[in-house]
């Protein structure tokens, strides 16, 4: 049972509702602030308290990131004596999940813009602010971590003024860690954010901004009532999909769900209506009453389209069935993940999957390996290319194995992004160079404040997939932050590079790349494979080829001697254990022709080379 203080009056006064979110760069303390707000409002007992209260997935807690949106309703007794209903909508911070961010922002009237008192304004802070302004949100700047010895509040105020164009003296100072200033934050929410508009008597419009899968109840929709109300028993219509359901339960979010008779205009809450999985719902859809529908759906409906594609193969073909089951389960709660069957001559049966970005890909891979105990091989991630054939047909290709015969291709196009990088001034040269190296176009920079620069560049998404972020971090010694948005498709010159191991094509290592990139990328693959494939009894040739033309090669010499010199009494146990470990490692290898390729080789080719 939730604490009594959480039980709100059945019909809320819309004037006392405040819907808000917290936007911040990663590590600026968003989850800690959320935890502290919840604690302060009595939303959690000390016994129930744990860090990152709103992040329920292991992976979120471990990596300190938010993947799914979450909400909580907090009653707050303000200094004016009135009790406000504060609805905190926790949004993911990463660019991969920006569609979810947008919808969460649409459900709010205001946002806390959190800035770390020592780190200052970062790329995601700016990007998120722009997003928030797009939705006309009232912004309260909050300077967090003021307890840190390195805190430099004056500098951060300057950045808020210069980089963000906000009034620095409106900023609230706090330390989510120590609890200092939290009362001021809550007070600012109550007094400075506007109440929602909308009336409960108008035709119902409710925006579905996220959905979570519940094993017992199916899909639980998170919504914001714009107009009208939703009550248990209502027959509702999802305006984009046209599907009809009967409302089983509505309510607020405490730490658990708190059922209520109805949700009224301006409120944020959940709805359960016997929907089996989140796939049956389009996030961004509008719910209305079937018999008295609203005239039009709310804006904001946009399908989450995967932009990064890769194939997943079980290391052991016995695990194929388990992989299907695991993916089926994952998509119950992850509507953005797509998958279809794929087969590789080298790696057997697997799935071609679509992801929102590299973080999404990593998260999915990690969850499959950890929560479902699967050993997986991953092919090189690729983007979706547009290909115009000589006969006028147009194809979208995201799988190298479906790349058409080059002689039939008229032209190829690849997706571009607008990358935005915030860096200290001294790194301009190095980052410009990096952008140029990644085929960046229209690279520009502008001074945000003294010594701080925002650099923008239009570059192919494919160039970002391949270790761009690692390189950026390394050349800016960790000071660079990065964000991007999709732009358009642009004409390029695309080729398919195949990797041959002892003459056998390893189709899972084939890649589509810009022709300029073909040779260095081919070489990188050959070298990485030469480093990671263990020596065998014969010489192994590794080649990168375009069609029949060899563009890169490396060789793994046959091993000649590996026997250890000594093996007496105690060595025997040690040596046998080493052998057992090696044998275990071989289970994670794939045979290509007569060559055993370890899983680590498939991973190594995707990694950046630190020495370069």
């Amino acid at each position: 049972m939730p604490p009594d203080s959480l039980v709100a009056p059945e019909i809320p006064d819309v004037e006392k509702i405040r819907n808000f979110c917290i936007i911040a760069h990663i590590d600026h303390g968003k989850s800690t602030l959320a935890d502290r707000l919840i604690q302060q409002c009595g939303g959690v007992s000390d016994r129930e308290f744990r860090d990152q209260l709103l992040d329920s997935m292991d992976i979120e807690r471990e990596r300190g990131i938010t993947i799914k949106s979450n909400t909580i309703t907090l009653p707050y007794k303000a200094r004016d004596g009135e009790t406000y209903q504060l609805n905190l909508i926790d949004t993911p911070g990463h660019v991969d999940f920006s569609h979810e961010v947008r919808r969460s922002l649409m459900s709010c009237e205001g946002a806390l813009l959190l800035v770390d008192a020592s780190q200052g304004v970062e790329a995601q802070t700016v990007a998120n602010l722009y997003l928030a302004l797009e939705f006309d949100l009232e912004i309260i700047p909050v300077i967090n971590k003021i307890d840190l010895p390195a805190a430099d509040i004056d500098r951060v105020r300057e950045e808020i003024d210069a980089d963000l164009g906000l009034d620095p003296f409106e900023a609230v100072l706090c330390s989510a860690k120590t609890g200092k200033g939290i009362e001021d934050v809550l007070e600012a929410i109550a007094t400075r954010l506007p109440a929602p508009k909308g009336t409960s008597d108008a035709p119902t419009q409710a925006l579905v901004f996220d959905a979570q899968y519940d094993v017992y109840r199916g899909a639980v929709m998170y919504l914001r009532i714009r107009e009208g109300r939703l009550t248990k028993g209502d027959k509702v219509l999802l305006m984009h999909t046209g599907k009809r359901y009967e409302v089983e339960e509505v309510g607020h979010h405490g730490l658990q769900r708190v059922p209520r008779k109805s949700l009224e205009a301006g409120e944020v809450g959940y709805l359960i209506a016997g929907v089996k999985s989140v796939r049956d719902i389009n996030i961004g859809d509008t719910i209305t009453i079937a018999d008295a529908p609203a005239e039009a759906p709310l804006p904001g409906y946009q399908e989450a389209k995967p932009v990064v594609f890769a194939s997943l193969y079980p290391v052991s073909s016995d695990d194929y069935g388990d992989l299907i089951k695991a993916l089926d389960k994952l998509v119950l709660n992850d509507a953005a993940l797509t998958f279809e069957k794929d087969a590789s001559a080298a790696l057997g049966f697997g799935f071609r999957c679509g992801f929102l970005g590299l973080l999404h890909l990593e998260v999915v891979q990690e969850r499959l390996e950890r929560e479902y105990n699967l050993n997986l091989l991953l092919s090189a991630p690729t983007v979706r290319y547009r290909i115009l054939l000589e006969d006028g047909e147009e194809l979208m290709v995201d799988n190298p194995s479906l790349f058409p015969d080059p002689s039939t291709i008229k032209s190829t196009f690849e997706p571009y992004i607008k990358a935005s990088v915030l860096i200290p001034e001294r790194y301009i040269g190095a980052v410009m160079e990096l952008c140029r190296d990644r085929r960046g176009e229209n690279t520009n920079f502008s001074y945000l404040a003294v010594g701080r620069v925002e650099l923008t560049s239009e570059m192919p998404l494919a160039e970002v997939l391949f270790d761009f972020y690692d390189r950026l971090k390394s050349i800016t010694q960790g000071y660079g932050s990065f964000d991007y948005e999709m732009l358009d498709y642009r004409l390029n010159d695309l080729v398919k590079v195949d990797i041959l191991v002892n003459g056998e094509r390893v189709d899972a290592l084939s890649q589509l790349v810009h022709s300029e990139r073909a040779r260095p990328r081919g070489l990188h693959y050959c070298e990485k494979l030469a480093d990671t494939i263990p020596k065998q009894q014969f010489k192994i040739a590794i080649q990168g080829v375009i069609g029949g033309k060899i563009i890169a090669r490396s060789t793994i010499n046959a091993f000649r001697k590996d026997v250890t010199a000594k093996c007496y009494g105690g060595d025997i146990t040690r040596k046998r254990k080493l052998l057992e470990k090696q044998k275990e490692g071989k289970k994670r290898m794939k045979m290509v022709g007569a060559v055993e390729i370890p899983q680590s080789a498939f991973i190594a080719v995707l990694k950046t080379d630190a020495s370069k």
């Binding site: 091993f559 010199a565 009494g569 105690g570 146990t573 040596k575 052998l579 071989k586």
Partner: protein, 397 residues
Amino acid sequence: MPTVSWSAAGIYVHVPFCSAICPYCDFAVLVGNARKRQDYVATLIREIQLRAESIDRLGAVDTIYFGGGTPSLLEREQLQVLFETLASTAHLTDDCRVFFEANPEDVTPARLANLHALGVDTLTLGVQALDDDALAFLGRRHRAQEARQAIRLARDAGFETVSFDLMYGLPGQDATAWRQTLDQAVALAPDHLSCYQLTIESRTPFDRAVRERAWHPADELTQAELFRLTHEHLRACGYLAYEVSNFARHPRHRSRHNQKYWHHVPYVGVGPAAHSFDGRERAWNERHLAHWQRHVQAGRIPIAGSESIDRRALALEMVMLGLRTTDGIDLARCQRRLGFDITADVGRRLAEWVADGLLIREAGRLRPTLDGLAVADTLASEWKLPEDEQCLTETDA
């Protein structure tokens, strides 16, 4: 023709003292002093008494091996009492062989005469190299001339087998230099030779030096070349390999004791870090002298850990060790001991290995060729053993 007696067991005595620690060594050794050595001997005698029951259970014992460390640091009286204790505890056979490791700098005619009189049959000298630069690099305390002198003295002292150790694959050592060393070694006419390739053991000074790039160990190509050269050249000189690093002028000079390790014959080890094997379980003593001593003085057998060798582990060890010896794997013996066919799941690879000239199948044995011996570790790691359930259902009746 194997000269191993399968029925009789062995005893190993670890003497952990050295006058200085060699930079490549990761054995349980320390620089002691006379008082520590005296304490050690007293403790060792106590350990032998504590283990009287398991030594009794060994039945006939036909080898005693004094290794280290540097057994030659012990005094005559200390050795005398150790021999007496062992003789009164173990069932020593009439032809029991006693093996003794000594450093060249400790060798004098009088000491050798003592050892011979005490019953030492095989004297193994830690020569390691036959030129002064290499000896200095290896941190040895003797000069090449001393080593030669020690070998001559040992031969004159009348030991049945005189053996010495050499190391190869030192940085900068090429085939010409190593062949020269081998020729010099052969000219000294030992009965037995051990030639060990330099191995960089972790947490040794050499390990640190290599990591700090002070010098580079020989590359794989050179190692392979030197390995092959060692075996071929010694063969031409009349020394036949019977294991990866061991060569004998006649089968009777093969180390009867060491072969017990490779054929899973039981042995009891006494002294710090010594291992014991009773046919089912391998156990190891406390590694640190002080810990080992504390246990023994408290009346406890100083075991730090043990593992039972189930059939699967035994099978893997039989493959791993068998492929290191020129006698190879005795298939009938494996079948008898394991109750299943060790080659059941490795058929196709086996045929390939035979076709590739790595193994020879004859007379119920799988013997490695020289090429096979060189890659014995890989062969063992690729050897697919029958799955557990299979082994068990076939044999548990």
